[in-house]
């Protein structure tokens, strides 16, 4: 009786608590502590972090900086890997589709900019980027439409082939520049507004170097910081979009498809359509990164897109923790940054990298920053193991 008379009141009382719990569950322990801070502090912290990220190439911090390569250039490489990893995370982490030819999308984006910007036509940069993204997305749909009917290992093999097909097509087509590649790819248009002085370091004391300045915003050859800023800005946009998709019907459909495709289909999820959407979204982001790469580089050829790059992208996502956007960002940063940081140990570089991957696979197979739920499941399973051991002993 009482239950019937106060259902509205009961739900109203229960709801905020449940909603809070749900939000809290999505975050780690650190996230919860941060979440407890008052809003102005949170906003301030976020703003500082963003500012720090933008200022990185100017600060050139001694421990972070790469002694053997231009730090701005390394940061750009890291940022483009992060972008790629975010794209691959949609395909692999959310929808659970193993794509071994992701470099193919990266190459399509880069080649679109190169061919339409320099080799066959001279379109403006502002046209090139959207065109590159659209064409890559279409290539994602074209690849996905026939291949997403196969599952698991078979999909991995087909996509592996796709990556190679793109590279070999470029290598053997005169209109794609063959092995010589394509030069004079247009850079982003510059607009010179003001100059920002860089920091210089003498040991651990910093001084403002007025002779060494970064022109805002000139996309040249020597100073790579503006490319990094551009890539970083795009990362923020992609992150926002990623979050919006994840917290919607689309993210749920991807996840359900990953968990149990047949059950998802029988619960009303058109799984094929959503897998295709994941592929297209991944291609979109991969193409964007490739287009940026080409317009920074100014020159591309088929050697720029080896199979190894697909494997590295995959490593970035898996190392970081597939399914967690912060994890894959960390993974991409590690995969792209560490080899540059330790370029001094040239001949040991790949060995150490391989060893690190092996250790990681052995001791932390779920990645550096796995999705929250994986961590929680693990905690529960460990607890159960402990309990079982306890009863066995008793």
């Amino acid at each position: 009786m009482t239950d019937k008379t106060t259902p509205a009141g009961a739900t109203a009382a229960r709801k905020p608590a449940a909603a809070q719990k749900r939000r809290g569950w999505d975050r780690g322990a650190l996230g919860r502590r941060l979440g407890a801070l008052p809003t102005p502090v949170k906003v301030l912290l976020m703003a500082l972090l963003v500012l720090l990220l933008y200022a990185l190439p100017l600060l050139d911090l001694p421990i972070l900086s790469t002694p053997d390569t231009d730090f701005g250039a390394v940061l750009f490489t890291v940022a483009s890997y992060v972008l790629v990893a975010l794209g691959l995370n949609v395909v692999l982490g959310y929808a659970g589709l193993l794509d071994l030819g992701y470099v193919g999308f990266y190459a399509v984006g880069a080649y679109t900019v190169a061919v339409l910007g320099s080799f066959q036509a001279q379109l403006s940069w502002w046209m090139l980027i959207p065109l590159a993204v659209i064409i890559t997305t279409i290539s994602g749909v074209l690849l996905g439409a026939p291949t997403l009917r196969v599952r698991g290992d078979y999909l991995a093999i087909v996509t592996l082939g796709f990556g190679e097909i793109i590279r070999l097509t470029a290598l053997n087509s005169a209109w794609l520049g063959e092995a010589r590649g394509i030069t004079k790819i247009p850079r982003p248009p510059s607009l010179e507004l003001f100059e920002i002085p860089n920091l210089s370091w003498d040991g651990f004391t910093a001084f403002v170097d007025l002779d060494n300045t970064t022109k805002f915003l000139v996309f040249g050859v020597a100073d790579q910081a503006p490319y990094y800023w551009l890539a970083l800005t795009l990362i923020f946009l992609v992150l926002g979009a990623d979050r919006m998709l994840r917290l919607s019907r689309i993210g749920r459909a991807w996840e359900a498809t990953r968990e149990d495709e047949d059950a998802a289909e029988l619960m009303g999820v058109p799984t094929f359509r959503f897998k295709l959407l994941a592929f297209a979204t991944g291609a979109f982001i991969g193409g964007l990164s490739g287009a940026l790469f080409a317009s920074r580089q100014g020159f591309i050829n088929p050697i720029s897109f080896p199979l190894l790059l697909s494997i590295l992208f995959l490593a970035a996502v898996v190392v970081g923790g597939a399914g967690n956007r912060w994890g894959v960002i960390l993974g991409a940063a590690v995969v792209a940054y560490l080899p540059e940081r330790f370029r001094g140990f040239e001949e040991w570089r790949l060995l150490v990298f391989g060893l690190a991957l092996l250790l990681l696979a052995n001791f932390r197979p779920q990645g550096l920053l796995p999705p929250r739920r994986t961590r929680r499941v693990q905690a529960v399973e460990e607890e159960l193991d402990a309990l079982e051991e306890g009863t066995a002993r008793a």
């Binding site: 019907r249 996840e255 149990d260 619960m267 009303g268 979204t281």
Partner: protein, 274 residues
């Protein structure tokens, strides 16, 4: 050798038939999984579908939900043939099911599992999600409301933030029903919902199935537990070796010699085992 199968059956009052199988056969190579099966589920009833192991009960479900398309014959839902509709389209039409072996989305929370069901009728696309359009917001709100209602109905409201794989066995079974109900079906197909339940849980489930029916749904129930099936069903259809061998109200079916033979074996068999 035993009694002649009661063919055709009393399925004449087509006006109230929500789902009907008309001479459905399904062949896998040389194996006839379903052999000329006809029966109907009437609107608002609880129909029990029983038969020994391998009789074709789950295959019937698979034919109704589009997992298999019949080799011959027709499945009609609300008068319309299902034809070659995809599985998700059939769900949207109003047939929802659970699985004999639990098939939840284990790494999603209980609430998210049910939300996926509620999403069956949602139209939010990428643009809606990116721009947080009114459609997205309305569907999210409605979806969550539906999901929470269904979960309360199933007694799972306290478990909504738990991962599906961390729920107890009984809760997982109930969550499957909740997920199916969130798709707002007209016909709910339960595939052995009481498997592994103790008597108290079975009694609870019987109660629940009746409440589902009373809320306006039609229920098709596959179940091995005779007490449960006979207690809750309005009518019972019996399959054996892919054929229908009996149909009727529980009391009649229970005494049907063909059914007894199917379950207990014929006299010759009994002598052998005894």
């Amino acid at each position: 050798m035993p009694e002649t199968p009661t063919d055709g059956g009393p399925g004449t009052s087509t006006s109230s038939a929500l789902l009907s199988l008309e001479n459905v056969s399904l062949q896998f190579g040389g194996l006839k999984a379903l052999d000329d099966v006809s029966f109907e589920v009437r609107e608002g009833e609880i129909l029990g579908l029983i038969g020994p192991n391998g009789a074709g009960k789950t295959t019937c479900f698979n034919v109704m939900t589009g997992v298999y398309h019949p080799t011959s014959g027709l499945v009609r839902f609300a008068g319309e043939p299902l034809g070659n509709r995809k599985r998700f389209a059939i769900t949207r039409l109003g047939i929802a099911r659970t699985f004999q072996n639990i098939r939840l989305f284990p790494n999603m929370t209980a609430l998210e599992n049910v939300l996926v069901g509620a999403d069956a009728h949602h139209r939010t696309n990428v643009i809606d999600a990116l721009l947080r359009t009114p459609r997205h917001r309305r569907e999210e709100r409605e979806g969550e409301q539906t999901a929470r209602e269904v979960m309360r109905f199933m007694g799972l409201e306290r478990r909504s933030d738990e991962l599906a794989r961390n729920l107890s066995y009984g809760e997982q079974r109930r969550l499957e029903i909740a997920r199916a109900m969130a798709t707002k079906p007209k016909l709910l197909c339960l595939d052995e919902p009481a498997a592994g339940f103790n008597p108290a849980e079975k009694a609870q489930l019987m109660n629940l199935i009746r409440r589902v029916r009373d809320s306006g749904l039609t229920v098709l129930l596959i179940e091995h537990d005779m007490g449960l099936v006979m207690g809750v069903s309005d009518r019972v259809t019996v399959l054996e070796f892919g054929r229908k061998i009996a149909e009727g109200v529980p009391a009649d079916v229970r005494d049907d010699p063909a059914v007894i033979a199917a379950y207990l074996g014929t006299e010759a068999d009994t002598e052998e085992t005894a």
